[in-house]
């Protein structure tokens, strides 16, 4: 019984981490129609930059949470630059956007290899969260429970931002009809930069938050990007609820698949994607985009 409970908690934890990664990806695709294949790299960069600050690799040390904030802001700024100076030049050209973002992801992977080398980097669990919680006969690492709480807090904050503020309404107006949004005076290009930076920052935040359980290593980007794609395809691009539900679903399928059917883990993982694409191409909570 404990095995199932622990597996369930691990699935929710991993789903929470995926939500932090995929919500930005979904928002960027939903608003800007940009399939941002650098998203895995932004996750990995966040993990490397944050991890380096935690262990003092850049000549200064900060505690885990400050490092996470600093790494997120750094990568958010990088995301803003990518959007302003590269993707802005390719409006509406999805093939070019795919190729450019894929190219940047290769460059980022090489850059990380050059700066941090090929050995995995271990990131220590933040102070105070290294212990365990016991419930019944089961034991849960506190840090995994903290990730679930962080994901819920971020989900609520994003929901409040998108659904309860004027900025959020402007973002949704931009998703609905970008030209009309500009006609009513909304600076859609600025919104695009804000959304891209927010998505990049969230990916980086997920990277450093995931560091203590996933560690940081070359290829982490390529491990995470397909999962983010999977979440967005299943949940529906641009839908926060879709990202949340999709993340938890993928978290469960990933963990249970690996535990119960390790030989077929990827088959089990991608089968739902195939079914969604065939039966409901816009995703479970996405809107049909003609």
């Amino acid at each position: 019984m404990n095995f199932w409970i622990v597996l369930t908690v691990n699935s929710i934890t991993f789903g929470g981490l995926l939500f932090l990664l995929a919500s930005g990806f979904s928002l960027i695709f939903g608003l800007m129609r940009i399939p941002n294949l650098t998203h895995g790299s932004l996750f990995m960069l966040g993990a490397y930059v944050g991890g380096s600050i935690v262990i003092g690799l850049f000549g200064f040390k900060l505690n885990f949470w400050l490092a996470a904030v600093l790494a997120s802001l750094t990568v958010a700024a990088l995301g803003a630059l990518i959007e302003r100076f590269l993707l802005r030049q390719l409006p509406g050209d999805q093939l070019a956007q795919v190729l450019v973002t894929l190219g940047i992801s290769f460059m980022a992977a090489d850059f990380c290899l050059m700066v941090w080398g090929g050995d995995p980097m271990s990131v220590a669990t933040p102070e105070g969260l290294g212990g365990f919680a016991r419930a019944g006969g089961a034991v849960f690492p506190l840090y995994r429970l903290a990730i679930i709480a962080i994901a819920v807090v971020v989900a609520v904050a994003l929901w409040l931002l998108l659904d309860r503020t004027r900025l959020g309404a402007m973002i949704r107006a931009g998703v609905d009809d970008p030209d009309m949004a500009r006609v009513v005076g909304i600076r859609v290009s600025q919104l695009f930069t804000i959304v891209f930076a927010l998505g990049a920052g969230l990916a980086a935040f997920a990277g450093i938050i995931g560091g203590p359980i996933l560690s940081v290593y070359p290829g982490l980007d390529q491990d995470m990007l397909p999962l983010a794609l999977l979440v967005v395809i299943i949940g529906g691009a641009g839908s926060l609820l879709g990202s949340f539900v999709g993340s938890i679903l993928v978290g469960f399928i990933y963990n249970f698949g690996q535990a119960l059917l390790p030989e077929l883990a990827y088959f089990v993982l991608f089968l739902p994607m195939l079914l969604v694409l065939l039966l409901r191409p816009q995703g479970l909570f996405g809107r049909h985009v003609p």
């Binding site: 949704r172 609905d176 009809d177 949004a181 500009r182 009513v184 909304i186």
Partner: protein
């Protein structure tokens, strides 16, 4: 004519290789209403799109109260006090009625002579929108969507209002309501361009008339003069 609120001067515009506006010139006087008429494909909506910056004029100049806006983006033209009620309404369907209005809110220009439009004044003008303020805009009827499109444009506290076929697809009773609203807006001193297919609607409210034919200005006149000239209307509009 008093100060020019909106002026198109020798404007040429293209959709791809298609030359849709050819040397178009007309002006809207301050606090006046210009009716822009023409058959389907005459270039009426293209004039609105050029005025709003959705389509750039390849030649010629567009100005708002004397200030050139030819190369400006729609959001910059909106900031100069121009608002558009577009053909087909194009409300933000996944936003509520209230959200549709608040995203378009803009403070009036300093020294504006008009009482500022706020969400309360828009709701006072369209009580049905107030009743449905928390409903998704996609669930409104056609007439309510048109009211929302007008209300959204007013939230920008415009000095110039471009209205592209506001009666399109509406029941006669709703059209009458919309025209009453347009009349009130005109009386408030707003400068308005009203695009319509139906000349009778425009003749009742407009001060000046421009008729477009195949992308060029064919007639510049007044409703009173045109009412007397059936042959001219038949030639350019195929009516009367």
């Amino acid at each position: 004519m008093a100060t020019s609120a909106l002026r198109l001067e020798n404007v040429d515009a293209f959709y791809g290789d298609s030359h849709v506006l050819q040397n178009v010139s007309f002006e809207l006087g301050e606090a006046r209403m210009l009716g822009l008429l023409g058959r389907n494909g005459a270039g009426k909506s293209t004039c609105m799109n050029v005025g709003m910056g959705l389509l750039s004029a390849r030649r010629g100049e567009v100005s708002v109260f004397g200030e050139p806006v030819t190369k400006l983006s729609p959001e910059m033209i909106a900031a100069r006090g121009v608002a558009l009620v577009p053909q087909g309404r194009r409300i933000f369907r996944s936003l509520t009625v209230r959200e549709n209005l608040i995203v378009a809110a803009r403070k009036p220009d300093a020294g504006s002579k008009h009482a500022p439009w706020t969400i309360d004044t828009v709701f006072a003008m369209f009580p049905r929108l107030k009743e449905r303020s928390n409903q998704m805009a996609a669930h409104l009827s056609g007439g309510e969507q048109q009211m929302l499109a007008i209300g959204r444009a007013l939230m920008g506290n415009p000095r110039v209002l471009l209205m592209d076929e506001p009666s399109e697809g509406l029941a006669p009773q709703i059209v009458a309501e919309v025209m009453t609203t347009i009349r009130k807006l005109k009386e408030s001193g707003l400068s308005i361009v009203l695009v319509e297919q139906n000349p009778n609607l425009v003749f009742d409210v407009a001060d000046d008339i421009v008729i477009l034919n195949t992308g060029g200005v064919a007639v510049v006149s007044t409703p009173a003069a045109l009412r007397q000239d059936d042959a001219l209307l038949r030639q350019h509009l195929g009516v009367f």
